[in-house]
């Protein structure tokens, strides 16, 4: 039985690693990329000193060190698997120091499985996991000290040290050590309680001393820690629960009577524990899995890494509905020259799905800033990148944003500012090569003008100043085209803006602005819209102000026939014409305004 248990437990540990890897590799990969972009880990002395100067700064530093590797596809899932396995093993090894009992080993999976569910929320960060591993590691070391006097003194020394390194997670040290001492054979129980009280007082005093004499931080951060949860002003209940569950496991090992699982009861107990823990975990993880967030992050990842084809392919497989994903998709379509033709093949949410309005959030400005960047509204892209970075709730800097700021300042000719950001990016592992290459561009006007991206965006920039107003996007887009008639994206966004808002009069007014774009034929959705307008004005569509495909004319005839004659037309039209502008015009964007508001509040 023992051999069976040992093998089974080993397999379970392996299983944990495998399922975590699979989860992050195939279902949640972009959550890891998302985490990586919201920090700026630098290999410099001042950066390190800044972190170790605050409680839990050390584990926050370590977690950021690890998180930077999420930049690489596949590495993130491997690291997550290794960390979860490490955590489970630490829980097990510490528990075994209390009382060796292979029957209880399924319960050692509770903390990592719970944490796995917790980390499905992108605002929980790796710091909590690292802090827990470090604390348990130190506890394990303390339990290996055989002399009780040395062990007690060492524990007293290590409690404040662990607090400084790992933050509030250090509470587990005195708690577990109390349990450990209680399970040692001793005649003097009273002294254990006194020692325990001493441990807890030390644990309480440490943050109080930190708060009053050592650091200027709010109480929440001093008592709980930094690097656990992105929103520093909220109490991360999940972390408190994680600590409680970890401690509960230790209590189980210490005090659960052996009679519950001895002899014939061993196997049923083990199996039911297994089901309880893993079944509960499956339920929790499934419930915590945020498909919409992962979708948005996936689109965002494709956009910021310029993988336009992948964004379009993803949408063709599974049509996105939320505005940020749709906005990203529309950007990808525009970069592939497909926006005019294929925009209405996907669900559109009105103009909010084209260029969402600014919000004092961190994610939305970062994503929407991409649109402004490619449009040539460099200053707006710069503002969105800056504001997005400022809005990161835990005061981190963002490598992604800093990179964009270096680019926009380079395009604008503000070379000294660009240099500042590039020098900082040179302190990172994954951005330093790009920063070094880009430094060589500074001041070299010809080189920048000939750069395929920066040169193009420079050309598209406004030629005259105006004060940006997000409520007048159509005017701004129109102005961009008039100043640079080859700015295809601005033209298609203007057309898209009018079509999505069902503003056909302005669409017809602006459609001729695209004369210099160089279309072989007008994009399909523009043909559809124009034909619709002409159709309302005249029944003779043989002569149209610009060429319209015969296919489009035929489809419109069929559409019109159904639309005008059937009361239940929508049902018929949805099957064959859902990818047309006519269908959007008649049936979509009715309740979209309300849905977008709901989404914003949810987000």
């Amino acid at each position: 039985m023992k051999i069976l248990l040992r093998n089974a437990n080993g397999m379970l540990t392996l299983l944990l690693g495998v399922v975590v890897f699979i989860f992050y590799a195939f279902f949640y990969a972009n959550h890891l990329h998302f985490q990586e972009q919201l920090q700026l880990f630098q290999f410099t002395g001042p950066y390190f000193i800044e972190y170790i100067s605050i409680p839990s700064g050390f584990t926050a530093f370590l977690s950021q060190f690890i998180t930077q590797f999420f930049y690489l596809p596949w590495v993130g899932p491997v690291l997550m698997a290794l960390l979860m396995v490490r955590l489970q093993l630490m829980v097990k090894w510490v528990a075994f120091r209390i009382k060796r009992n292979p029957n209880l080993e399924p319960f050692t999976f509770v903390p990592p499985l719970f944490l796995w569910a917790l980390l499905c929320d992108e605002n929980y960060m790796l710091g909590g996991l690292i802090a827990l591993i470090l604390t348990l590691q130190l506890v394990w070391v303390l339990t290996k000290i055989s002399s009780s006097v040395v062990r007690i003194i060492s524990t007293m020394i290590f409690i404040p040290i662990t607090y400084w390194l790992a933050g509030g997670t250090a509470i587990l040290m005195p708690l577990i050590m109390i349990v450990f001492e209680l399970t040692r054979p001793t005649e003097n129980r009273v002294s254990v309680w006194w020692i325990g009280a001493g441990y807890l007082i030390l644990m309480l005093i440490s943050p109080l001393i930190a708060k009053n004499y050592l650091v200027l931080l709010p109480s929440m951060q001093v008592f709980i820690g930094y690097g656990y949860y992105r929103y520093l002003i909220y109490l991360p209940f999940g972390i408190l629960l994680l600590w409680a569950l970890t401690f509960l496991v230790m209590l189980l090992y210490a005090f659960l009577p052996k009679s519950v699982m001895d002899g014939k009861k061993s196997l049923p107990f083990y199996i039911s524990s297994l089901f309880l823990v893993w079944g509960g975990a499956a339920y929790l993880v499934a419930g915590s899995y945020n498909r919409i967030a992962e979708e948005v992050m996936t689109y965002d990842y494709f956009i910021r890494t310029k993988q336009w084809d992948k964004a379009v392919a993803l949408a063709e497989k599974d049509v996105p509905a939320n505005p940020l994903a749709v906005a990203s998709l529309n950007l990808a379509l525009s970069q592939k020259g497909l926006l005019g033709d294929k925009m209405f093949h996907f669900i559109q949410n009105g103009s909010e799905g084209l260029i969402p309005q600014f919000d004092r959030d961190y994610l939305l400005p970062m994503m929407v800033g991409e649109v402004y960047y490619y449009l040539g509204l460099t200053n707006t892209a710069q503002r969105f990148a800056f504001e997005g970075m400022e809005a990161i709730p835990d005061y981190q800097k963002s490598a992604r944003c800093l990179k964009r700021l270096a680019e926009t300042n380079l395009i604008n000719g503000s070379y000294e500012v660009s240099r500042k950001y590039l020098l900082i990016l040179q302190n990172t592992f994954f951005y330093k090569d790009w920063a070094t290459e880009t430094l060589a561009y500074l001041g070299d006007e010809d080189r920048i003008n000939n750069h395929p991206e920066w040169g193009r965006i420079r050309k598209f920039r406004p030629k005259e100043d105006f004060l940006f107003d997000g409520n007048q996007l159509d005017m701004i887009l129109g102005m961009l085209i008039q100043q640079e008639p080859t700015n295809r994206m601005a033209y298609e966004y203007l057309m898209g803006y009018c079509l999505l808002n069902k503003d056909l009069p302005h669409f017809m007014q602006y459609v001729d602005l695209g004369k210099e774009i160089g279309y072989k034929s007008m994009p399909i959705s523009y043909q559809e819209a124009a034909l619709y307008v002409w159709g309302l004005q005249s029944t003779d569509l043989s002569q149209t102000p610009f060429p319209v495909n015969n296919e489009v004319k035929k489809r419109m005839q069929t559409y019109a026939g159904i639309y005008t004659t059937r009361e239940d037309a929508q049902m018929y039209l949805e099957k064959e014409f859902a990818d047309t502008y006519w269908y959007y015009f008649h049936y979509r964007y009715k309740n979209i305004i309300k849905r977008n508001e709901e989404f914003r509040q949810m987000h």
């Binding site: 004092r360 400022e390 004060l467």
Partner: protein
Amino acid sequence: MKQIIYYLLLLLLIIQSGCNRPSEIQKIDGMPPIYPDYTNITIPYNIAPLNFLLRNKPQSVEVSVKGKNTSFVVYGNEKIQFPERKWRSLLESEKGNDITVEVTVEKDGKWYRYAAFKWKVSIHKIDSYLSYRRIEPGYEVWNKIQICQRNLENFSEKVLADNNLTDGSCMNCHIYNQHQKDVSLFHLRGKKGGTILNRNGKLRKLNTKGVNSFAPAVYGAFHPSGRFGVFSQNTIIPEFHAYRSERLEVYDTASDLVILDFDNNSLNTSLLVSGDQTLETFPVFSADGKSVYYCAAPQLPLPDSIRSLRYSLMRIDFDEKSGKFGNKIDTILSANSLQQSVSFPRVSPNGRFLLFCVSDYGTFPIWHNETDLRMLDLKTGGVDSLKQVNAWYSDSYHSWSSESRWFVFASKRDNGIYGKPYFSYIDNNGVASKPFVLPQKDPAYYDYTLISFNIPELSKEGVSFGAMDVEDAYFNLPTDEMK
């Protein structure tokens, strides 16, 4: 054994250092590429060490510092950090004298000596403390903001207020009365915020938005007596430029002046400096406290007419007995004549000069690259363009030292975005010297920081309150309402 190894290592270190002494030196005519630029400046004798680095990344550097009475040599790689004790005794012994600084560098195995430059040590010390706000140069969103106080004689810095402790609230404008630590104030926004008034270390929280006011106090200054403050109340609107490297435009749709009486918790105004027709802002008392200088512009349709919005420098009398504005307004500098907009007037404590900013238009000079400082001689009426002080990019927000011999201002001369405090000396003829930046212990600090320094204010002593007191004031102090 361990001791032998230790002494061997020490010997190696000494030999290594000895190997890095200059030899076969080639002379270079130009100035050394040091950062910050501390070449040929006038410095107070109580300033912290002017640590610098070499931009051309040499292998070794030797810096010789020679005064009339004291000299020493410092070695480094890329960075030069002067030992503080040696530095202090150097400046003490060289008051009124010039110090010659020679930089010799080793690059690719060869030694080069640059042309020497001078540090003129003024006999006038600078006020020992500088407070400023540390904030990122953002638009509408902010994260970390701190008001800090730096000891200019060394590198120690104390945090006076940290918005991380006050619900992330905005905070600004820490100002002193007569450069004294005992009377100062700053604005702390947010749900439980107010104007935090410091009197002898005791904090009070004031609601400076009176019953009939449309906004709380923004820009302002103390009366020399410390009893009154004159402030503007502004409705501030930010807008964003779409063109090139211009970023932010901030204007007021309404602004008036008020007098706050801190003893009686009251505020009053005058029709002459309030109302819809004119925008009044940036008030400051004269050195004798008998008048108020401020900026005013006629109300225009905004933002459409923003480029026509220009402020003139005005003065109105102030009666200390009644605590009220007087009846007479003078135009000191007309925007129409200048064809520029005036902002931030600041009178020197001796009443002789008035420093102000000029920009092409508007009322937010910090984000106008063309903003420069000017100095009005209140005796002669002449305006000094301060060519030796101004640089490319915004030079703004200035304050005087208590002896009127130094002024500090916020300059974005390095890159147009990140502001730093710069100091300039006024000699006996009223001529300003080439400014120098606030020294940092690590001379590379300004390269890697993403923080801007703004609203620099000098004081003779450090204030006694700190960030924890402000946190307590924010959450627990009751708010005094102004009648």
